[in-house]
Amino acid sequence: MPSQIVSLVVNGEHREFIAAPGATLLACLRESLGLTAAKRGCAQGACGSCTVLVDGRPEASCLVAVETVAGGSVRTLEGVATGGDLDEVQSAFVDCFATQCGFCTSGMIMVAEALLDRNPDPSEEDVIEAISGNVCRCTGYRPIVQAVLEAAARRREEAVTR
């Protein structure tokens, strides 16, 4: 099977690149597009560190063959902050000490973004459920759950003042 040209909308921009057959979305993002925020922790769908949003849904990009999402829209951590500002999830992760080594952070934030997009007022259980596919070995999860709840609160406040 020959390589093929794949086009995707990545963080709002149209991108085209050549992908070998079976190439994963993770490998294409990191190696073809230079977007290295998504990480490889396990390459087998078990850790969530490679999570990106595909058409708004969180996906383990290490398990997604890129040709299966051709033409779709992908959002990575690089597309979250605009103009150097942090969004509510990012700033809450900083303030709540929800990152230590930082390796799981990209996946955690993308899962949180997807959660808050569909549920602006999640309960603690909702947050725990949302991050249940993401492994963090450093924080013990507590600060991450608190950061996501804090981000939701900040986002609701923003919506009111806006």
């Binding site: 990191r30 690089e78 930082g102």
Partner: protein, 462 residues
């Protein structure tokens, strides 16, 4: 804010606080690396992608303990995209031990196995290829013929007469400390203490190996520079340790290597051994190309060095009032097949015994034992953590046996400033009494007045 800060008591030991600008504890200080983490801009080693990057994968031992009769590289070399298959003969100085930097020997571990494998997953050949897939395919096609040897997996069995010899460089299945078969503590007379004690209480404690399981696996990218130096991007927890050991293995001056590191995607002690950089450097020199060697998840779990399995026997001489007058400890630390950092871990464990308690008679034998298991190494407080699990479990068991409150038992036996420890050091700044009192107060655990008045700086209540 929905988050809460840790309660920090800044009033305790007021006289010892310098005052002035020592105000950080109890205040909120933002992490300097947090902004990079939440924007994805922190650069981990694997985010470095030089052009012409080659990939290294290891062919590993399929046996716990075996002689290597033959290695056939033919099929591996025939895989399209395979550039080189490296064996021990390609490594300038194939035998090392990481602690040689502080004078600990002997060298006991090959970079690539020579004539024998001593644990399941030990590296035998390194396949360097154009792509990761080709490297994996090549590694799978290396053929090794083994002559099986009996393995030993248990620390006490390994020390028995006639046990299979794991590591010939040591000559016996334990590390030798300045001519002694183990690290020892001899303080007072434990046998006399047992003879006059109201109770002699002994239990056995044991732990399994624990994998640190960082989310980022162990790895490095080595990039040859135009000036002949090698730039090593690594997630090691020990940049200088790695640089020095790698230089000794490559038989190259230290200034020929440069490490770019310090960003570690979780380590917890699992990334202090020097296991990927040396062979990746050999590969980069042999191919004159950048080389990446990174563990997959299975390798991280199987061959990256875990916390050692430990076994402890603790025997206490205890009086009816709860005073412990003697403690005898035998500790076995499973180093696995090679020493790595274990001789130091065992010394640390010995330094930690008999726990933070003023016990006038102490005897300890701490053995660093070789078995055919994955070499173990550092993990969060290694040497100390499992010893503490055992020592504090022992305290609880003793309290339960005497029908005593476990906190009172500890307060009664805790070090006070000025006590002489089993290592002949005078205890200073102990503070254990106050910590226990505070913990009791915060958890609503009632202590009698005499115990609440105790202090680490006086002998009140003893």
């Amino acid at each position: 804010m929905t988050y809460r800060l840790a309660p920090v008591d800044t009033t305790a030991f007021a006289a010892e606080r310098g005052g002035g600008d020592l105000t950080v504890i109890g205040s909120v200080v933002q992490r300097s690396d947090a902004r990079g983490h939440v924007t994805g801009r922190t650069e981990f080693f694997e985010d470095v992608a030089p052009p012409r990057l080659a990939h290294l994968k290891m062919h590993r031992s399929a046996r716990h303990h075996a002689r290597i009769a033959a290695v056939d590289l033919g099929e591996a070399l025939a895989v399209p995209g395979v550039l080189r298959v490296l064996t021990h003969a390609d490594v300038p100085n194939n035998l090392y031990t990481p602690l040689k930097l502080i004078g600990v020997g002997p060298d006991d571990e090959p970079i690539l196995a020579v004539d024998k494998v001593r644990y399941l997953g030990e590296p035998i050949c390194a396949v360097v290829a154009e792509t990761e897939a080709a490297a994996l395919e090549g590694a799978a096609r290396v053929k090794v013929t083994y002559e099986d040897l009996p393995p030993v997996f248990d620390v006490e069995e390994a020390l028995r007469e006639g046990a299979p010899l794991v590591n010939e460089y040591h000559g016996q299945n334990h590390f030798i400390y300045e001519g002694h078969h183990c690290r020892r503590i001899r303080f007072g007379d434990v046998e006399a203490a047992f003879a006059r004690a109201d109770h002699v209480l002994e239990w056995r404690y044991q732990s399994a190996p624990i994998e640190q399981a960082p989310v980022e696996t162990t790895g490095c990218v080595v990039i040859p520079q135009a000036d002949g130096r090698l730039r090593i991007h690594s997630d090691t927890q020990a940049c200088f340790f790695t640089l020095d050991n790698t230089a000794l293995i490559l038989e190259t001056p230290f200034n020929k290597l440069r490490i770019v590191g310090g960003t570690v995607g979780g380590g917890f002690g699992g990334k202090v051994d020097v296991v990927v950089e040396p062979i990746a450097c050999v590969a980069a020199m042999a191919t004159d190309r950048p080389v990446k060697f990174v563990y997959d998840r299975a390798e991280e779990m199987q061959v990256s060095s875990p916390r050692a399995a430990e076994r402890l026997y603790i025997k206490d001489a205890v009086m009816n009032d709860g005073k412990i007058i003697g403690r005898k400890i035998t500790l076995y630390v499973d180093a696995g097949a090679y020493a790595r950092h274990s001789p130091y871990g065992v010394t640390k464990a010995a330094a930690h015994l008999p726990g933070p308690y003023a016990i006038p008679n102490v005897w300890a034998d701490c053995h660093c034992v070789f078995t055919n298991r994955t070499p173990s190494s550092a993990m969060r407080g290694f040497g100390v953590t499992i010893a503490d699990f055992a020592l504090e479990s022992q305290m609880d068991q003793v309290a339960r046996t005497l029908g005593m409150d476990p906190l009172q038992l500890r307060l009664l036996n805790a070090y006070r400033d000025g006590d002489v420890k089993a290592h002949r050091k005078v205890a200073e700044g102990t503070a254990l009494v106050e910590v226990i009192q505070k913990a009791a107060e915060m958890s609503g655990h009632e202590l009698p007045e005499t115990y609440r008045r105790m202090s680490s700086t006086t002998r009140e209540g003893l």
